[in-house]
């Protein structure tokens, strides 16, 4: 029983990471109708940047927020410089650009920071076992950080004028322009936010999986599975999907397929959703009458 609880809690902790990245994927998908395959590589790059800040002597939380800011700017720059020129190009061009971006950022990261696996610090440590050893300090802390990020993003989109404008630009760019919204900039902001969310996810998972240029490869696959499961055009659904995939993955790894085959779980979920219910469990149902 305790082992089961342990697995579920571990699943929720990693699920939070998948949920954040799934949200980042959905934000860009809603605005562009393309999946940013490079989201994971961008998060890895951010995590390396965080590590170099820390190694340069910054206190952890200063490095944390500095990384978020830098990542935001990188996200904006990627949209302005790379995505904008191809925004009206056919789908295949987009896929090509995303894969190119993935390779470029991946290689750039390896070239600048090296390919050896590195330790990444966690700010959450505890001398005593928490809840009778059921949960580690890092699991507890990273889950809290993840939930805080998700809550902030929710509040931003729900309750600020800029958040509303970004949603309007994603749903209906033509009408958004007619009310004076600068749609192009909303898109760039969306990329910035997605990159910032990815950066947090990277910094929270790196102490667990260790840091190397391919750190996010498998994680992005799980996040994508979560996004599909919840509905690629539904932010809330994608977040729930991310948590669900985290728990499922852990339980399947512990009791069903073993850790070697865990990644297969993600693939099975992806294929299963695409075949059975392409809109996902919470896929957007727009009520409309004519």
């Amino acid at each position: 029983m305790e082992a089961l609880a342990h697995q579920i809690i571990a699943g929720i902790a990693t699920g939070g990471i998948y949920a954040s990245l799934a949200l980042a994927l959905v934000m860009i998908y809603q605005a562009t109708h393309h999946v940013n395959f490079a989201q994971g590589e961008m998060a890895t790059l951010s995590t390396f940047i965080a590590l170099s800040f820390i190694q340069a002597g910054m206190p952890y939380w200063v490095a944390f927020f500095a990384t978020i800011a830098v990542s935001f700017l990188i996200g904006v720059a990627v949209e302005r410089l790379l995505m904008r020129p191809v925004q009206n190009a056919p789908v295949l061009t987009h896929v090509g650009v995303f894969i190119g971006l993935l390779l470029i950022i991946g290689n750039l990261t390896g070239w600048v920071f090296g390919y050896t696996t590195k330790m990444f610090p966690t700010p959450f440590e505890s001398d005593q076992p928490l809840f009778g050893g059921l949960v580690s300090a890092h699991q507890l802390g990273s889950t809290a950080v993840t939930l805080a990020v998700l809550l902030l993003v929710y509040l931003f989109f729900r309750h600020t004028k800029l958040g509303l404008a970004m949603r309007a630009a994603a749903y209906n760019p033509r009408s958004a322009r007619l009310v004076g919204i600068r749609v192009g900039w909303m898109l760039a902001l969306g990329w910035g936010l997605a990159a910032a969310i990815g950066a947090v996810a990277g910094m929270m998972i790196a102490p667990v999986v260790f840091l190397d240029p391919t750190m996010m490869l498998g994680i992005l696959l799980y996040a994508f599975a979560g996004a599909l499961l919840g509905g690629i055009d539904n932010p809330m659904g994608a977040v729930l999907g991310g948590f669900a995939v985290g728990v499922l993955e852990n339980l399947a790894g512990a009791y069903v397929v073993g850790t070697e085959l865990k990644l297969t779980v993600a693939l099975i979920i992806i294929i299963g959703v695409l075949v059975i219910r392409p809109s996902g469990l919470f896929g957007r149902v727009v009520l409309s009458r004519v």
Binding site: I181, R182, V183, S288, R289
Partner: protein, 236 residues
């Protein structure tokens, strides 16, 4: 004083297809100008050309300044609101959020007062305040589209077939509201309609468009009285 809006030799099209072949027209402040014509004549394209939503050549002057070639959002920010064909409401968002977006560019303190003004004009929208716009009836959506446009506090309002697809009673209600808007504010309206009779009742001046060219223009009252024009162009 320059006209509120003036088009000179306005051409527009989609890709290689030319749709408008050199239009000249003006819209005066505080009045209603009707743009009439059969389906496919180029009425919608004319409004899109003003809003910078299609490629154009020729000149469009708004209060004496060139706006052709500018981005749609900049044109909106100068005070041109556009109720597009198909209404262009944000279906996934609530009525309240649509209102807020209508006033997006405004920084003044009277937004809330304008919300209340819109509630008075469109009481049904107030009842639907927290509902998703996509769940509104066609008439309510048209009202929402008009309210959204008026919340920009435009100097010029472009309206693309507000009667389209609506029951006669609803159309009557909407045109009643537009009459009030016209009396209570200084906004100039460029009204596109297929329902010529209705539009000419409201308008001061009218232009008749045929395959991308203006074939007749004049005071709305005169055009209404001219039986030959009515028979050959307006079909009633």
């Amino acid at each position: 004083m320059p006209a509120l809006l003036e088009a000179r030799g306005l051409h527009a099209g989609y890709g290689p297809t030319q749709v408008l072949h050199g239009l000249d027209f003006t819209v005066e402040e505080g009045g209603v100008t009707a743009l009439l014509g059969a389906n496919g004549a180029g009425k919608t394209t004319t409004l899109r050309a003003i809003s910078g939503m299609v490629r154009t050549t020729g000149e469009v002057l708004f209060r004496g300044e060139r706006i052709d070639g500018r981005a749609t959002e900049d044109i909106a920010r100068r005070g041109i609101a556009h109720v597009p064909d198909g209404r262009g409401t944000f279906m996934e968002l609530t009525v309240e959020e649509n209102f807020r977006l209508g006033a997006y560019i405004r920084r003044d303190a009277e937004v809330q007062a304008d919300f209340e003004r819109m509630w008075a004009l469109f009481p049904r929208l107030r009842q639907r305040w927290r509902q998703q716009a996509g769940t509104l009836s066609g008439g309510e959506q048209q009202m929402l589209a008009i309210a959204r446009a008026l919340l920009l506090r435009p100097r010029l309002l472009l309206m693309d077939e507000p009667s389209f697809g609506l029951a006669p009673l609803i159309v009557e209600e909407i045109f009643g509201i537009m009459r009030r808007v016209r009396e209570e504010s200084r906004v100039g309206i460029l009204l596109v309609e297929q329902n010529a009779n209705l539009a000419l009742e409201l308008a001061d001046h009218a232009y008749l468009l045929e395959t991308g060219r203006i074939v007749i223009s004049g005071p709305a009252a005169e055009i209404r009285r001219d039986e030959a024009i009515r028979r050959s162009y307006l079909g009633y």
